[in-house]
Symmetry: C2
Subunit: 168 residues, 2 copies
Amino acid sequence: MSTAEASTTGGAIAADDRVQARWLTAEQQTAWRNYLLGAARLSERLDADLRKFGIDLGEYEILVTLEESPGRRVRMSELADRVHQSRSRLTHTIARMEKSNLVVRTMCPSDRRGVWAQLTPTGFDLLKSAAPSHVACVRRNFVEAVGEQDFAVLGRAFAAVLAVENDD
Amino acid sequence: MSTAEASTTGGAIAADDRVQARWLTAEQQTAWRNYLLGAARLSERLDADLRKFGIDLGEYEILVTLEESPGRRVRMSELADRVHQSRSRLTHTIARMEKSNLVVRTMCPSDRRGVWAQLTPTGFDLLKSAAPSHVACVRRNFVEAVGEQDFAVLGRAFAAVLAVENDD
DNA sequence: AAGTCTTGGTTGAACTTTCAACTGGCTCCA
DNA sequence: TGGAGCCAGTTGAAAGTTCAACCAAGACTT
């Protein structure tokens, strides 16, 4: 990177207000902002697409995760991790989805604290009908927009983000 | 699965449920999921960092945008675009920030429909104190995790996402 | 076998975001 | 000059998310 310049991840703070720290270079700032904006737009578009089927991306991810799992069911806390939602949020979300008959909750026999979220036939049908449009949307707005090469880089990049050790 | 196989952006749908469509390859799926998960984790970490200062990423972006603008003020609807929030959401957010004295709203003389959101000295001070930690957090969890090279690619990639023409 | 600690999950209230309706000011054209 | 239509911004209720407190069951310790 070139030299560290005073700015607040962006514009210039008046000279006498400069702070001692390593800022981002102009290029890095641009990249960062492109990311912020691009990611926001992308999820807007995916949500808009899924809204036709009455769900949002979070719920779609739940359906996919369930569908992929043995018996089409997953325990709540594992599901929470896999779809990166808080336990509490997942409880509420699954409650809503249960009302729409997309999933059902059943007690887990081996661990009586546990609860399985299970995909229903209705949920599976919804997934089947939403998937083609959704995948097309991801391809069009992301994979193809970015290009195969860069898309692969992007995959690595976010794997690296995940790998950053963090004192959570 | 390696080549484009029946799946719901992910796992296998039973053979007799296959749908005609171009799915993602296994590598593309992995990349896509890394992105979904990585992006979620990243914003979690940035939010956690900013929470120390009593704001979230959305509010931080507002502060930065204002700070960078002539007179440290921007009209509501332009601000909404620049921080990719809906007009309505911005109204509520700015209302909250006004209560904390981070911004003030003033009538725009040239267009009497218009409203300026203006950064206050308090808001500016908060920005100054939050910025170093925030930027460090972005560097650590994103720029450096990903590496200079790939980070640049990422910038291009999301510019491409933004460039996808869309019948909004 | 009791005591404590941890884990899995839910609850409800507080807070934030979305959605649709609405006010009022600008524009343009007859 | 007076609509018709559009643009800027707000409003309040509904929907969704977060937060902290909670209950119940497993696990570990003695």
